[in-house]
Amino acid sequence: MKKIKLSTLVLAVAAPLAAALVSIVISSLAVLASHKSPFDAYKTMWEFGTTSSSLMQMLNTATPYYIAAVAIAITFRAGLFNIGVEGQLRLGAIFGAYLGAKFILPPVLHIIAIMVIAMTIGGLWAAIAGYLKVKRGVSEVISTIMLNSLAGGLSSYLLANYFVDRTTNSNNMSTKTLPASGQFPDLMPLLNKIGVEDQPGGGVYGMLIFAVALGIVFWFVINRTRFGFELRASGSNPIAARFSGVNSKRMTFVAMALSGAVAGLAGLPAVLGDTHAFNMGFRTGIGFSAIAVALLGRNNPTGMAFSALLFGFLEVSSRSLELIDIAPETYVIMQGSILLSSVIAYEVVRRYKITLQSKELAKAVAA
């Protein structure tokens, strides 16, 4: 028995390790292709990436990734694929920012109200895909992608024509700034207390705390509640789920809407914690990177946290590559190769495990 346990441990480490190795080789080749030393590149990235200012930015990058990845993981667990997180978070953010600046509530309540708005909008937008899937049999992969493009056009239309704050004269179109009660406090004062010094341009989004809580809630709901069980059941075996009384069509719709609601929040860390408005500079691509984060983290709350941090680290630290004349875009190669090699490595290990188990079983039966 002890031998099996050792091999499981080895196997658990083997996949990420192999993936990391392969991706380091590929990234090194990419750097070599521009006639530079990969070793210098990694050294520069590490030195720059581990300064406290970079680490703060890493957390700020990782927070929206993590929230969006949780949204995607919800659908993965239900056997669906919500590629529309990008659009859902964009609409959630613009409506949250615009409507949130229209009223004033006590501090905590105001933030909660904005979050509810963003969740509602994101959820409704994703529900379109859920409805089309359940009622019309339209693949959610295609409908959510189309909805992404629609959300992009719709948000710029709304911003330019209705939501823009005309009282300020700026080239950067923006919604009205949120009142102080609607701004999520920064974590910097807390960090000061534990001895972290202020950094120029520093600050850590308060929504980081929220993201951590979201991860815990996600774990609990998926693994410890009846709803989570039904969600997973309808995902892994819809026919069996139906026979045990799970309405898998309903679960499909609910999973899409819920995923969209969570996705609606992913645009808020920057809106509530930094810009305090939705403007033209709103970051694009969060929803797509989050797909990679969710895949890399195996839809597991802890795994996704690590992969979100890794992606954040790579993005922030690669900015330093400009200093030694390497394209900072190298990080995209790193992220991509990590993603693909880990997806393959997980599959290989999973299959090897099954072979190993069946061998053990055969031995046990023979003995």
Binding site: S34, I142, M146, G153, I291, A292, V332, V343
Partner: protein, 411 residues
């Protein structure tokens, strides 16, 4: 087969007639102009190629969401190689690069058994990152003017269908019958002539080659032994294997052909539809190609029809926003048609809902004079969603599509 073609012709003529009536009412003359038809064809080609790419892959049992990424690779390679070595070599490079993307997808899904959608999405993310990285390198080395755009590619010559649409053949100038008919402004007849002139005149040779892929795919997949084997890998791989078909090889072939076609589609966008590569040039066309595949129920002819509709919507959007406004009236007409059908079937609640939606659309059509630009650009995506939701219920996908296959039934 013959009745099918007749049915198609009847529907197409009906559509042109409805468009003519709408043009007459709204005055949106671009709805049935030569230019619109020609642009619609040009914009359909990449989608047809992507859709056919999806067809080969999915008929062999591999879902290919990675089409988008393969098109991106193709477009980039077309721009990169095309500027240096001319458009034809550029197109070959595009095919090759699309194939490289497909090879990665094939290795991941067929050899290693990774979930098809997961691998496809990974390839899309990687392809976009890779071309951005490589473009930056080219920009830094000074051969590109910007990190998101390649220099111009020489264009590929065009020609027209002889006798009907003009053109030059060995120094002989052909008459342009359809063209002159289109300028007569006869109700319906001129409209029909204009549309035919648009899709048969001033064609790039690549367009002709790409469109020839439609009957060619039909022939290869349904009339050859290779096609039968490839389809058997997507329908019943275990049975196929037991009859001596090399299922892995068939799947590899399907995915590689898929990537080559998607790469050509990307190269077409860069070299023929535009004259350079530009970042975000593909803009979801790989996915729209997949939508056309589903709309066309995994058949080449259906893909052509689906792609034609998307191409038409895209062409109107690019050329003239007044026509997109007129298109709302078309939606009203279609909705009213649906109401009549529902009433006949006795589905009153549904009919009332649809009627309400039709009324809303009509009100919007009358209330707004011109659609704002940001909304006009959304036309092809809305069209995709609408067409998918109206059509995708009678789907018959390959039985083993998307299921990782292991030789000997191992998992």
């Amino acid at each position: 087969m013959k009745t099918k073609a007749l049915k198609f012709l009847r529907y197409a003529t009906m559509l042109v007639f409805v468009l003519t009536v709408i043009r007459q009412i709204t005055g949106a003359t671009d709805l049935t102009s030569v230019g619109t038809a020609s642009a619609a064809l040009l914009l359909s080609v990449p989608i047809v190629l992507a859709g056919l790419g999806g067809l080969f892959s999915e008929r062999s049992g591999v879902v290919n969401i990675g089409l988008e990424g393969m098109m991106v690779m193709g477009a980039w390679a077309g721009g990169m190689i095309g500027t240096k070595h001319g458009p034809w070599i550029g197109l070959i490079a595009a095919i090759f690069f699309g194939g490289v993307g497909a090879l990665v997808h094939a290795i991941a899904t067929i050899t290693f058994g990774v979930d098809h959608v997961v691998s496809g999405v990974a390839i899309n993310i990687i392809a976009m990152g890779l071309v951005r990285y490589l473009s930056t390198l080219l920009y830094k080395s000074g051969s590109w003017l910007g990190p998101s755009q390649s220099p111009d590619v020489n264009s590929i010559p065009t020609n027209s269908l002889p006798i009907l649409s003009g053109g030059q053949y060995f120094g002989w100038k052909s008459p342009d019958l359809l063209g002159s008919l289109a300028e007569k402004h006869w109700f319906f007849i001129s409209d029909l002539a204009a549309i035919l002139r648009g899709i048969t005149g001033d064609l790039s040779y690549v367009t002709v080659i790409a469109m020839a892929m439609v009957p060619l795919s039909l022939f290869v997949l349904w009339k050859t032994a290779f096609g039968l084997r490839l389809r058997s890998a997507g329908e019943a791989p275990i049975a196929a294997e037991s009859l001596g078909v090399n299922v892995y090889a068939m799947k590899y072939a399907g995915v590689l052909i898929s990537g080559a076609l998607a790469g050509l589609g990307g190269g077409f966008l860069a070299i023929v539809a535009a004259n350079h590569y530009q970042e975000n040039q593909v803009a979801g066309r790989g996915y729209i190609g997949l939508a056309a595949l589903l709309f066309g129920n995994y058949r080449p002819g259906g893909i052509l029809m689906g792609a034609g509709l998307f191409g038409f919507a895209d062409a109107l959007q690019l050329r003239d926003s007044a026509s997109v406004h007129a298109l709302i009236l078309l939606i009203v007409v279609v909705l009213v048609g649906l109401v009549v059908r529902d009433v006949r079937k006795g589905k009153i609640v549904k009919a009332v809902l649809t009627l309400a939606f039709a009324g809303l659309s009509l009100w919007y059509f009358l209330a707004v004079d011109e659609l704002p630009g940001q909304l006009v650009t959304m036309t092809p995506y809305i069209a995709t969603l609408l067409i998918m939701s109206l059509a995708s219920q009678r789907l018959r996908m390959p039985a083993a599509d998307g299921i990782p296959y292991r030789r000997g039934g191992l998992r």
